[in-house]
Subunit: 469 residues, 2 copies
């Protein structure tokens, strides 16, 4: 049975691209963080959409579950198989062509397996911007970005991956090819299957190609670091900068004092711009399609107003690319400093922006009451309402023992998120890791609609089983 199936797969994709020896399969079975290793019947590496469709048809005939896999950089165990050994991993890595770039329509049509950075570079070669940007961009694929509706650092101005996509090509759970590669800004002809497939984490079909939006390259981006007395002041600053700068505001990152303390401890060589310690900091970025001068003027005007209105204690504006890099470095070294300090308990949450000070205050207090040794490392994309609200032991030691509190700490954080109508997974998705949390926090009405759609489109349940639902 298995042999007959594998023989069919070899006929379709070529023997070299059907891996069933454990050491050949190994790189495809362990998740990005190295926390889990699954098992698989085989790893399939088709070269194009037609082969993907034929392989899915073979899986349907033999009732073999399929785990679609892109760059495998996800954080919620969405793209690795479980430990049953009954599924195949279907790697999209060989579907790696930029199919077309239309510089007038401002769209690029890509295979799902193209690396995100390659898409960015293809756009830049035409003096255009593909704005999706995130830490894993050198490894993750656009198909994975779409399947997880990836967020990243440009969401404030350009939206999540969903907002950047105009059309999809998808192999259905029946092994048919849906050519939805439309490159249109307006199209009201029936149900929005595109957005249903985006973020479905490979449970409703396999994305094999996409049409993505491109934008003009900004001529300049200017950065500032602003010191503030409270998280509530950060909201005042956000409102003010949005009004002054409109769409020119491209970054608004919140960091607590604890975050910069941690960076100072582990990366003393990085220059910290302020002499005094402040409760919170905001990293601001303003971009301009006109000139650097224009961006500087906008940013300085906004900060001047913030000082006048008392929502800003101090500020430095980067006057060179190197200074700007230095300020972003502080932000980007927070996770590195955390890693250097030891393991911690991470939360990728979002809230209505107006509720963030309340969330921080009540959750900090609840954690302090339950775990006097807990320290919160809170930073994130405040402009998107997205916080990385991480928890570690104060002492700096005993990290492994502290991790035993993970479930209890998750519960406190997620209950508070839920009470303020937030999301327990802002940009990482659900995968296998947060499946139980989803069942806990989603209303039955919504879960039932999701289950009905899953059963309708994938009645055999062979697409990425055990993920999301």
């Amino acid at each position: 049975m298995t042999e007959a199936f594998l023989a069919q797969c070899r006929d379709i994709a070529g023997a070299a691209f059907v891996l069933d020896r454990l050491d050949d399969m190994a790189p495809y079975l362990t998740d990005w963080r190295g926390r889990f290793t699954g098992r698989a019947l085989a790893v399939l590496r088709p070269q194009d959409t037609a082969q993907v469709a034929l392989l899915v048809q073979a899986c349907v005939r033999h009732r073999v579950p399929i785990v679609p896999q892109g760059g495998k950089t996800g954080l919620v165990l969405g793209s690795v198989p479980d430990d049953s050994g009954t599924a195949v991993v279907l790697s999209l890595g060989r579907l790696n062509r930029i199919r077309a770039l239309d510089s007038i329509n401002r769209t690029v049509t890509v295979d799902a397996g193209v690396i995100l950075q390659t898409v960015q570079e293809a756009a830049a070669a035409h003096d255009l911007l593909f704005p999706l940007s995130l830490a894993a961009e050198g490894s993750c694929t656009i198909g994975g970005n779409l399947s997880t509706n990836a967020g990243g650092t440009a969401v404030l101005r350009y939206g999540n991956t969903r907002e950047l996509c105009l059309g999809l090509e998808v192999v259905t759970p029946q092994g048919e090819i849906w050519d939805g590669l439309r490159a249109l800004r307006k199209d009201n002809t029936g149900y929005d299957l595109r957005d249903l497939l985006i973020g479905a984490e490979g449970t409703l079909g396999i994305i094999t190609g996409a049409v993505m939006k491109l934008f003009p390259q900004p001529r300049a981006a200017i950065t500032a670091l602003v010191a503030l007395g409270s998280a509530r002041d950060a909201l005042g600053l956000l409102t003010l900068v949005q009004d002054t700068c409109g769409a020119a505001l491209t970054g608004f990152e919140l960091m607590s004092a604890v975050c910069l303390d941690l960076v100072a401890t582990h990366f003393p060589q990085l220059q910290q711009p302020f002499g005094a310690r402040h409760a919170h900091y905001v990293l601001l970025e303003v971009s301009s399609n006109e000139s650097e001068q224009h961006a500087v003027a906008l940013l300085e005007r906004a900060i001047g107003q913030a000082v006048d209105e008392g929502v800003c204690d101090d500020a430095v504006v980067a006057t060179s690319l190197a200074q700007s890099r230095g300020l972003w470095n502080l932000r980007e070294h927070i996770p590195l400093a955390q890693a250097a300090a030891g393991k911690n308990i991470k939360h990728d949450i979002s809230l209505p922006i107006s509720r963030i000070p309340e969330f921080i205050a009540t959750t900090d207090a609840a954690l302090a009451a339950a775990f006097p040794d807990a320290e919160v490392i809170c930073f994130g994309h405040l402009g998107d309402g997205n916080l990385h609200y991480n928890v570690a032991p104060k002492s700096g030691a005993g990290h492994d023992a502290f991790l035993a509190n993970q479930l209890a700490i998750n519960r406190i954080v997620n209950d508070n998120v839920d009470a303020l109508h937030g999301s327990i997974s802002a940009e990482h998705g659900i995968g296998a890791l947060k499946r139980e949390d989803l069942a806990r926090y989603k209303e039955p009405v919504e879960l039932n609609m999701m289950r009905a759609i899953k059963a309708a489109l994938d009645p055999l349940g062979i697409m990425n089983p055990g993920k999301i639902l």
Copy 2:
């Protein structure tokens, strides 16, 4: 049976809000353009979401089909019942509260039956912008805008209604209430039911409430009219203005010479800014969050470059609000001039922007060959790839006879749209009017996925039957 059903409805909504006399029902049964009058068992006018849910439950028990209705301004017979007389119209008009406005999170939570203009005014009262804007804004409801994913004049900068919505409250075809009123910019917790319901034209459930995005009010908007030698030059101009102005570009409307001729004939009192006649014109609008001076400088720089690059023959920049109004008036009087000239055959289509000159050339030629008397009135939101490509008889007489060619002319236009991977309904939807066209031009794979979803969420088929599918 019917009496038992109506009695239940009266118990739920109150006798005054269950209309079953023909003259009471009449205003709910004829479509906006007055082309079709349906029949209904009754018109139900619930006052809140709870009543909507109870009414749907009553309909489920008695297997009564439901036609949800907002402002009834749709153009594709999506919100009026068929002539069977078996369905109820469920009017959302009494769900008309602004539930909450959060000026920091920049969101407004509204009942589905709130008039679009009321949402705009609520935002403006907080010095914020709700950008959705279209001709029917004084009558249409936000629920109808969502159910049809309405477009309008601000899509270039702010997107369609879908892009403006963060969360929905929906009564399911089972009469359950799904509270998806999330006010989050990032939320990756399962399938995107929100976007599936948006644009579903009431066939998958009834939208009863929504969370919509708000934006800073621009301080100034400056308008120019540019004369061009060809539609291809309009693409050159678009690229150039996008690069120069970025997100400040808020309008880019194409009009052919025939359009302005028609306006000159029927509205001779409107001033036409150019002495000479040009093949095409573009109405440009640039907005600024900074100042009027900034908007003028941006626009003049872009037009200067366009002259230098030879993609622009002549241009006038409005230097006052009155002049700006005058230029927009020319654009807005095109449909009025058409109506004055007599009936015509309308198409609301979209294309990849880069294919528009090719589409116009080949479709103009095909129509001229088949109907030597046909004249094309082509204008639209070029920046969105959305054309109103209307066809009338040249002579200005014999309009009724010419309309007999409607099906043949639709076929030529839609076949050309399809060949260039465009959409046969860019912003109006499908409703009952374009259902057969949808079946003709959509791939079976996509239609089957749509049918599977419909059957899964509405197994009794009681939600707006005969629309879309």
